[in-house]
Amino acid sequence: MMTETDAITMAGLVKSFGPTQALNGLDLVVRVGEVHGFLGPNGAGKSTTIRILLGLMRPDAGTARLLGGDPWTQTGELHRRLAYVPGDVTLWPNLSGGEAIDLLGRLRGGLNRRRRDELIERFDLDPRRKGRTYSKGNRQKVALVAALASDAELLILDEPTSGLDPLMEEVFRQTVQEVQRAGGRTVLLSSHILSEVEALCDRVTIIRDGRTVESGTMAQLRHLTRTSIDAELAGPADGLAGLPGVHGLRGEGGRVRFSVDAAALDAALRQLTAAGVRSLVSRPPTLEELFLRHYDRASASAGGRHAEAAR
């Protein structure tokens, strides 16, 4: 059920386009006031999910609630309260960037003139150029300025920094942080850039093949990551191979390398000390590994099971 604390609730979403199954039981909950990372490999169903949220598409099954309303039937009134940056921004070839920003802002019910000019300045955008002459990054800036200059309570950003240079990416991060701190606004941020997600997001949802595979706070996710161990041992550590939660075990001479789930770390270290440790290098868990594990389709099933076990 929808509660006041949730800006977006989606449950069991199913959507197919002919033979292609785009969404296959997707769940997504975004709480009011948080920046929520929405991650997944290309083709995982992120854009389809967003289009359902925007009332552009209708799911075959499942429920979707947006800001307490039905995204398909209450489209107009809900859109007054949100701003959207599409993943692949296309502009009107014969409208200038400034005209596109103003048009989108006015259609949304007005935009903050001072803030618009300030953002154009910060993103170093020339608003006089015609839509057809902008590069991908500049088109992205036009859409970002239009969205960030609004007073919308929910921002839906679909890979908003793709095509931006690192400097502009930093500007984007600062702006989102300001926006959120100032107004307590909710942001749904689809992104492939992990540093961006780590810097901005309170919680993340990872999807793959149209299904939610992971969801939680950053701290919870870190807990799901694996520590890499590289150790030189005095004797053989035969027990390691059979230990659940130990992955990619390789041994040569007296040396072993493996990665291990947080839950199995203790047991693995016991095995090592039992064999006698001469030297030990351990690398702390990174979110990147977790993400890559979920992005990698080949090891998909193994990763999924692992996550279940770790819970």
Binding site: F17, M57, H79, L103, R106
Partner: protein, 536 residues
């Protein structure tokens, strides 16, 4: 690596992308002359019948404008003459195909992707030209073979077929030049189509002058359309005309290559200018945006139709006098073909039907603009604002109605004014021709309806409405004259438009067409309200 490395691979890419479209239009254009053969042998089986048909048709100016000069009464000459308008279509298709594979690709950024591979600067241009010219050659040879198979003389059939080929080649080369000029494919198409339009007018004017034996008969020689005719299929072929076409093709292609070598990727000869830093106060609604997007093409179309209307109106009176001198037999025959009314009216009536077809194409084009907003992703950003999707579609719908309506008014008023000034009866002719143009509107809007229904239900097929318009035209035009069964003729929408010039007003068909158009639009909007956005 020379200037054309990779052309072979790009040819395969072009063929792969056009594997349906290209064979379809080649096959269609091959079949039409064959249909004429069987239609003429069916309707005019004897030499006497054909001679009679020849005598009645040779002085009909509307035929001369549409088909060209009629040289004699043999079956071959009649078929070649009647196929004269096919060169317009060959030219148009060749032009659009070349632009589609050059400037459109460049504008979409795909040329950059391809150009970064081991493909040299002019390879895409060469590939587009080679495929288009190859298709035109296949079309020419296949038409020739088909006509020979029908028992027509081999030399004439080859001349007719190669006439198509030559026209296609010249317009392909024109397309390759216009593709270098503008940064947008739309602009390149507009320039190319304007050239084609001027070519049609010049050929018409030149041929009428040649027929009358007075005036600028040389005008036909200024156009590739005139060269196809100057080959004189079945009446003493003049093969050297092909050399003229080949020389022009070579010159235009060289010009295109030279222009392409001088410019940067994505740029044209006409550079894009800077726009305003912010939107004017009026650009604040979907309707204002739609106006902004439609106004350019709409104004140029309306102005173009007004100009053509002036020419047609100015020609009408002198034409009537000429035809009055052409003998009782001709007048009698015209009355049989074009219905009652004066000779001037019998010239103007098919012009009004052509107007209807052209405006129907404008209506479809305007609907395609809406579809392209969806396909290219711009609609998505717009519909994420509080704008309701029906309101968005409705704001474009206004212009699918208004654009053709203004076009019809411009043509009717211009033709009426010119004709009225000529005859000293503006007060009579202006309202008469204007209303004859206006009654085309329900038929035109019917095609808005078809395009909108497709947009709502089968969005990928909106362009199919063009096929409906052209086929509808052909059924009426060809069928009526070659005495096909009435039900075939009745399939043409334009056949049901009352012929006000010399005929009577009939309200019922207009009401039926308007109601059908409204129903189709309603079906389209209902479908659009329910379907997924964007459908790629």
């Amino acid at each position: 690596m020379n200037a054309f490395t990779g052309t072979g691979k790009l040819i395969r890419l072009v063929l792969r992308r056009d594997r349906v479209l290209l064979p379809l239009w080649v096959a269609f254009l091959c079949v039409v002359p064959v249909v004429f053969v069987s239609a003429f042998t069916g309707a005019y089986p004897t030499d006497e019948a054909r001679q009679h048909y020849y005598e009645t048709s040779v002085h009909t100016r509307a035929f001369t404008v549409a088909y060209g000069l009629l040289n004699g009464s043999s079956l071959g000459e009649l078929v070649a003459w009647r196929s004269g308008f096919l060169t317009f279509m060959v030219g148009l298709l060749a032009l659009l195909t070349v632009i589609r594979h050059t400037r459109t690709e460049e504008e979409a950024g795909r040329r950059e992707l391809v150009g970064a591979t081991a493909v040299s600067r002019h390879a895409d241009l060469a590939a587009a030209l080679i495929v288009t010219c190859g298709a035109c050659l296949v079309l020419g040879l296949a038409s020739a073979l088909a006509l020979i198979g029908q028992g027509l003389p081999a030399a004439g059939s080859l001349a007719l077929g190669l006439g198509f080929t030559a026209t296609g080649w010249v317009f392909a080369a024109i397309g390759s030049v216009t593709a270098q000029l503008t940064t947008g494919a739309g602009g390149a198409r507009a320039i190319g189509v304007t050239v084609l339009g001027i070519a049609i007018i010049l050929r018409g004017a030149g041929d009428i002058a040649a027929q009358v034996g007075d005036g600028p008969a040389w005008a036909s020689w200024l156009t590739p359309l005139g060269w196809a005719e100057a080959l004189r299929p079945y009446s003493g072929e003049r093969w050297w005309v092909l050399a003229l076409a080949a020389a022009v093709v070579a010159a235009l292609s060289a010009l295109a290559v030279a222009l392409s070598a001088r410019r940067d990727l994505g740029s044209g000869m006409f550079q894009a200018r800077l726009g305003p830093a912010g939107a004017g106060p009026r650009l604040s609604s979907p309707l204002a945006l739609a106006w902004r997007l439609h106004r350019g093409p709409m104004i140029s179309r309306v102005v173009g139709l007004a100009l053509v209307g002036l020419v047609v109106g100015a020609m009408a009176a002198s034409l009537g006098t000429l035809m009055d001198n052409s003998g009782a037999a001709a007048r009698q025959a015209l009355a049989r073909l074009g219905g009652p009314g004066t000779l001037v009216d019998q010239f103007l009536t098919p012009m009004m039907v052509m107007l209807g077809l052209i405006c129907a194409c404008f209506a479809i084009q305007a609907t395609l603009l809406l579809r392209n907003e969806e396909r290219d992703g711009r609609a998505e950003a717009l519909l994420a604002t509080p704008v309701n999707r029906l309101r968005w579609a409705g704001s474009h719908f206004v212009f699918t109605l208004l654009g053709p309506a203004l076009g019809v008014v411009a043509f009717g008023a211009a033709a009426g004014l010119a004709h009225g000034l000529n005859t000293g009866a503006v007060a009579r002719e202006l309202p008469r021709l204007l209303s004859a143009a206006l009654v085309q509107l329900p038929a035109v809007w019917l095609f808005t309806g078809i395009a909108f229904a497709l947009f709502g239900l089968l969005p990928r097929l909106v362009a199919g409405a063009f096929a409906a318009a052209v086929v509808s035209m052909l059924f009426g035009w060809v069928g009526g004259e070659l005495q096909l069964d009435q039900w075939v003729v009745d399939l043409s929408v334009f056949e049901h438009v009352p012929k006000l010039l010399g005929g009577d007003m009939a309200i019922t068909p207009l009401l039926i067409m308007t109601a059908a158009a409204a129903a189709l639009v309603a079906i389209g909007l209902a479908g659009f309200g329910r379907r997924d956005m964007p459908t790629p």
